[in-house]
């Protein structure tokens, strides 16, 4: 296989990471909502933690984008 083709294939495969991160981000908000509906009184105080979890899950997906960008543009 030509190196150029392999690079582009790798970049495409990196997009799988974005999909997996979407599962993670969905999980974060789903679990938060689940807990928040059971105990609405405690929900507002936990919003900071919600976004920490969101930031962690999202960063790993964004890294997939970085990998793809590196493969294409380097």
């Amino acid at each position: 296989m030509e190196p150029e083709a392999a690079k582009l294939l790798g970049a495409g495969l990196a997009a799988i990471g974005c999909g997996l991160a979407s599962i993670g981000v969905g999980n974060v908000f789903a679990k938060f909502l689940e807990g928040a509906l059971r105990n609405p009184g405690a929900a507002d105080a936990q919003q900071g933690r919600l976004f920490i979890g969101f930031a962690g899950a999202e960063l790993l997906g964004l890294l997939a984008f970085v990998v793809a960008a590196l493969l294409i543009f380097q």
Partner: protein, 262 residues
């Protein structure tokens, strides 16, 4: 010869170019041209300044504008009080500046000014800019940590209650997770903004190419792409807010580590 199909280069929007013939300005051997990036930084600082000036009239019964500014300051103050505690009050100016600057930059970059020929430039989509902001936050964490706790600050790398035989494993992991913070902080903002703008550009190229390819393509590709673009624009506004919030939130968490250890 058939006309070349018009190509939209999704990366072109991130080109930095010198403005006002300043391409050759130099200072000590370095080029200090006034670029479009610098221009939009100045614009967002100016807009932020006007926004704050309008809201700082200190009326007893606040008007709408003052209410808007006060809700932002109150929001940051609450965030620091919740995450850092009483020691967090002195960081309100820094976190507030950071949050508002990033928020205004993200929002200004999304303005559809291209319609009137002005091309808004999102400088937060460049790692140099977000990296400097992240290093600034990281430097504050280091300075505060070492000034308050001295060498005791290194106990950050060994959480309380770690069994002694786990220490050789835990300490390097904690060290790496600490050192990687500025990168993750800058990378998150930069990639989120850049990915969103590339996505919008790619969708717009679908609309243009679809429209050029014929009426059928225009209806079945162009119109759905345009509808998706409107939706993605709304998502981008959300992302602009969330990324500014996450940057400020994580900075305040790191400051909490420096202030109170853990």
């Amino acid at each position: 010869m058939a006309a070349e199909p018009a190509k939209v280069d999704p990366m072109h929007q991130f080109t930095i170019e010198p403005l006002f013939g300043s391409a050759n300005w130099e200072l000590a051997g370095y080029n200090i041209a006034f670029t479009n990036s610098a221009l939009w930084m100045a614009i967002s600082a100016l807009v932020l300044w006007v926004f704050m000036l309008g809201g700082m009239r200190r009326q007893l019964v606040p008007g709408r504008w003052q209410m808007a500014v006060e809700s932002f300051t109150g929001f940051i103050e609450d965030m620091l009080a919740a995450n850092v505690g009483p020691a967090g009050r002195k960081y309100v100016p820094y976190i507030f500046t950071l949050f508002m600057f990033i928020l205004f930059a993200n929002m200004l970059g999304l303005l559809p000014l291209g319609v009137v020929g002005v091309h808004a430039f999102t400088f937060t989509s460049h790692f140099t800019v977000t990296g400097v902001l992240a290093v600034l936050s990281f430097a504050i964490v280091l300075i505060v940590g070492f000034a308050r706790h001295g060498l005791h600050f290194f106990s950050l790398f060994l959480p309380h209650g770690t069994p002694w035989w786990m220490a050789p494993i835990i300490a390097p992991i904690e060290l790496i997770s600490f050192m990687v913070r500025p990168f993750s902080l800058g990378l998150r903002l930069f990639v989120a903004m850049m990915a969103g703008h590339v996505l919008l550009e790619v969708l717009s190229s679908f609309v243009i190419s679809g429209g050029n390819a014929g009426i059928g393509y225009g209806i079945f590709i162009g119109i759905p792409s345009l509808a998706l673009m409107v939706g993605i624009c709304a998502l981008e506004i959300l992302v602009a807010g969330i990324q500014a919030y996450v940057f400020a939130l994580l900075t305040s968490l790191y400051i909490n580590d420096a202030e109170n250890l853990h």
